[in-house]
Symmetry: D2
Subunit: 358 residues, 4 copies
């Protein structure tokens, strides 16, 4: 495993789905940054399961215990460590997965890589549950970025092929408050249709995926360290560490590849004595470095691989095809819960990059 | 800048477009690996300019001089260093860019970040020319991977909205030899249409972009180190270090986000006593770890930002809008030349990941 | 802070002396390595305080709780995390240190670096208590090294100027069992004299320091990655992370600098068809790489800076000289308790270096 | 090999003694720092051979060619790369060393590690010649530190057991100008005696070693990142990457281990409204962080392992003891030439640590 991330800050994520606890350490954080635990908890609750029809009924209390690094509400310069105890674990639910890997999951690849020693219960360290400590780290970074005027918000732009209307925020001057505080879309009606698709998939014992757009405003121009520490590289490395992410583009991204240069290039303008671009197809990044415009990226989340429908797998011991029925609890769509996780990942990457600008 | 990449191997890329030389060092390579300079040169020639109607007429000889790390045709364990001298440089072509940044380029962001001290000539360290040393490193890694039975090939799947037919190789059992050795597409006719679009754009003083699919076969199951050292994260970090890349997905990627789980999951099968998947929508990666299937990813390349058409920019000194006409030499489409660069990036990322499996 | 160490393994140490808990995460460890908790506890007890006249009466139970990474007694490939709760903390003991820094401690430098936000209680993250998580990581690495035939043992060679007799083990073929299992010296009588010096210092409200020799046997030739990943560099980086270490040399080290080359060079011999050296002045390392001989290094530990004698300090707020009397509990000599810590540091560095040889 | 160093800056050293060139890349350097090539050359000349009776008659011109990263005398933000061509190489001098390793050299360990593929000529990448690129990087860092008021100077305190008088500079307020500009000692007479010992060793076909004290003044308090990024750890990692270094201590170091705490602790004082310490036994570092006093460390350099006297080695192919006579050119004492190398290493480590303080 290499569950560490960062250049100036050093994030280390640990834990397994049904182990004693999950958690994280965050080193390299300057001293004197304020920490608001209540704000953090509200952020963590957005990721927590059991809140709605589209999420797993498993009830987890994602309430972190901070073990170090914070004194009297401020970072003290020492590494921050926090854990979340696992409760209501049912290792027995997963007994058969060691021999019969779930399609779309890491069961098989972990079996090969770790030679059968991996923690198979609930996906072990590969579980989506490990995004909770990522959200602890990211929730803190969000707070510290907010102090510098950087605001990050993600929202669902598509689920099961149903697009939000409009399909995205205004990239030149986004109003992040337009995102619905419940189901994070711009258009409540479109959101309803998405939830219907989720409900249908659930009824079919199936699942759906979707797209998430993430926008960060207020980042000054000049952040990012090309070639390989550019903003795209930094964000991509951490975003692809989130289970179920299979696609990522910046600004107009894939769509831009069929435009002409004269259409794709963002003309420069002067606005209140500041250099800006007329539109923002680049997603706020030129040459790996922020240009002062909103940073925009879109993430493709695959449909939850855990479905209750029978699937074709193999018995690893007998090397025979076998039908698999997955029991237990799972989300028919993880996209809504992934929204704060994407924000967290973005916050960590951006805060880390900005640390070199101090 | 952070022009270093890698975990077990350490790649460092240096140079500016119009400086004395560009080059790279590659540390952490095992001793005793054979190096075939002729094979490397053939690979580098695929990236070199001046070969066809779609590329810049600037003639560069991308012939590397190896300074260290190779003795009698084998790696000696010491860091490998190689340089390519810059010839035919015309710094004067770029004199005005320091005040009037080119849209779509790093001119403005570099100006802000480096306070005017950046090497503005030809984009300096941001130039696409810096992909030549990347190809030296990647070309070597390709050779060493070939020794282990890993083969990597990329090809154009779309230029200016024109798709190749078929739109991609067979992901379960690709025949990499189907890629045309000249213009790297599967269908020569489709390739002709793409070249026509490039020619049209050129005639208009404009440019086009496209999509590149990259496939690696022969990687054993078990390579990759999640959470943040998973194969997607490793490949993404280096691929996004290539200028003009704005999108990346793995396997069915963005398209998969609108499927249902039962459609997207790859059922396991047994084939000649080996566990495989029936299809390969995952792109050969589950949980960040290779599953033994071909590794597949697609890259979105934006249209060349350098176009000769007049564009709107600003004078940074006068803070006024200004029309910019870019002179000099540039590709109307860099996608064909980017193909080997994507292969190089993939080879470096995969070789680095496999080093931990020794 | 940068409390992370390692290249292939990634160690992260966290916690403050009087915080909720101290602990560590250890990432990058292969799956399937056995973990013996009892053996680990015996090792940790060697570092724990409250065992003898020479150590602080503060009673800490250094019993780690493992949160992740170990399943059924074996590593599972996921990061290992362990914590030790802090009990019997008395933050009030240290109230005055924020304004009046203790000589020889990090109080003043932390105040400057962290701007007053540091956790001043008990030295916070700078406390010797943070060597407990280091010993968790190192104790595990010791077990895994033992499986490969590598044995590590450290012992006191000098305290307060009193040398052990003989002053060191035989470097060519050391019998590590000669080290006394109680007070870790070779000659019990010499050990008694050292303890008398410790007792005298204690009676005077003062403290003493000493030297520790560490030997690792069974390391195969060929381990270490010069120039900057050589064995000396790797060991030095982690050993100098231990509070109170101010000197380190390898083999004959400082003494060798006054010899002639003909005296200092170790002649090669052939012994049972193996290349060895006749003596081992190099400490088993040539050019940063192990040569198959025992690896030997010596560490200089300064006298405990916490003494109860009045000392001259300053009031930082009033910028005036002030007499300081330190209350609370402290060791008159930390050298005996530092012995397992040095072993732990060596084990981590050696195991990390050997991971590249897999 | 792992010939890369640094956290914020990334140094990569490459080359072999008798290869085409040696060199370095230095990434992560802020843009806009002035570079004085003449000052750098004067610094490099201090390390260059062929200047005096105590050094090898091999004439090398250590004149670097800068390939990138510097424009019009200032750093441009892009990686700096520089090379020195190797001339006057005589690979034939070393033909027999592959089978019969030189005692005290890396010949044997390299043979084991690199399986015979290493570049054996002149020690290859293990050669002391590789300290030249280290001095390019360090010489630049020295210039940039000087701009910030940090001055670094090293001097010989002992050769062959002959001490300088006084044995060291005043650690609280050193006058670095007292160091002789020729043979870098404080007392020219003591220097003469050292040179006589070198001459005697040379006449005997033998060699001698010595001690070097290095002092850095003007470092602000608060630099260094414990636990493992503390100043001692940072300096130790790079200093132990210099061939022939076998010992290192900080401040009073080894000697301090026999003092009492009340003697060893440095009392705080107030001097011109600044907190200082009365003496400086800590070498300016408390808890891994600078305290504003001069940073002081001492390095033990072993006698040159290359001696012309016959020595006992073995034939690796025949596994028999064999007498070895080393031909070719070598220094009877490398200590004088190591002085600027130690300064360079210190400058790199300190500059890197200070980059986090921006």
């Amino acid at each position: 495993m290499s569950s560490t991330y960062g250049e100036n800050l050093k994030l280390s994520v640990f834990g397994q789905s049904h182990g004693a606890a999950i958690g994280m350490t965050l080193d390299g954080i300057p001293a004197g940054l304020p920490v608001n635990i209540d704000t953090l908890q509200i952020f963590l609750n957005r990721r927590a399961p059991g809140q709605a029809d589209f999420s797993t009924p498993r009830k987890e209390e994602d309430q972190p215990e901070f073990l170090s690094g914070i004194v009297n509400g401020f970072t003290c310069g020492a590494p921050i460590a926090a854990i979340i105890r696992n409760h209501n674990t049912r290792p027995g639910d997963y007994d058969n997965l060691r021999d019969c890997p779930r399609p779309g999951h890491a069961d098989y690849t972990a079996q090969v890589k770790y030679g059968g020693y991996q923690d198979a219960a609930g996906g072990g360290h590969f579980s989506g549950r490990l995004t909770a400590p990522l959200c602890i780290a990211g929730g803190l970074c969000k707070q510290w970025l907010a102090e510098k005027g950087v605001r990050i918000a993600a929202h669902i732009t598509n689920i099961a092929g149903i697009s939000d209307t409009p399909p995205s925020l205004d990239w030149t001057n986004p109003n992040l408050d337009l995102i619905d505080s419940g189901f994070p879309v711009l258009n409540r009606e479109a959101g309803e249709k998405m939830r219907e698709e989720i409900a249908k998939a659930k009824a079919d014992g199936d699942s759906v995926g979707g797209l998430i757009e993430c926008i960060a405003t207020g980042i000054p121009a000049g952040v990012g360290d090309p070639m390989f520490g550019g903003m795209e590289s930094r964000i991509a490395q951490i975003v692809y560490g989130i289970p179920a992410v299979k696609g990522l583009d910046f600004g107009i991204g894939f769509t831009g590849s069929s435009l002409r240069g004269s259409q794709n290039n963002d003309p420069f303008i002067v606005d209140h004595n500041t250099v800006r671009t007329e539109k923002n197809f680049s997603g706020g990044i030129l040459g790996g470095i922020t240009n002062g415009m909103p940073l925009v990226f879109t993430v493709a989340v695959k449909p939850t691989p855990s479905i209750s429908k029978p699937q074709q797998s193999v018995s690893l011991s007998r090397l025979k095809v076998q039908t698999l029925e997955i029991k237990g609890r799972h989300d028919p769509c993880i996209v809504p819960r992934a929204v704060p996780v994407i924000e967290a990942a973005a916050a960590i990457a951006i805060f880390d990059a900005m640390l070199t600008q101090y």
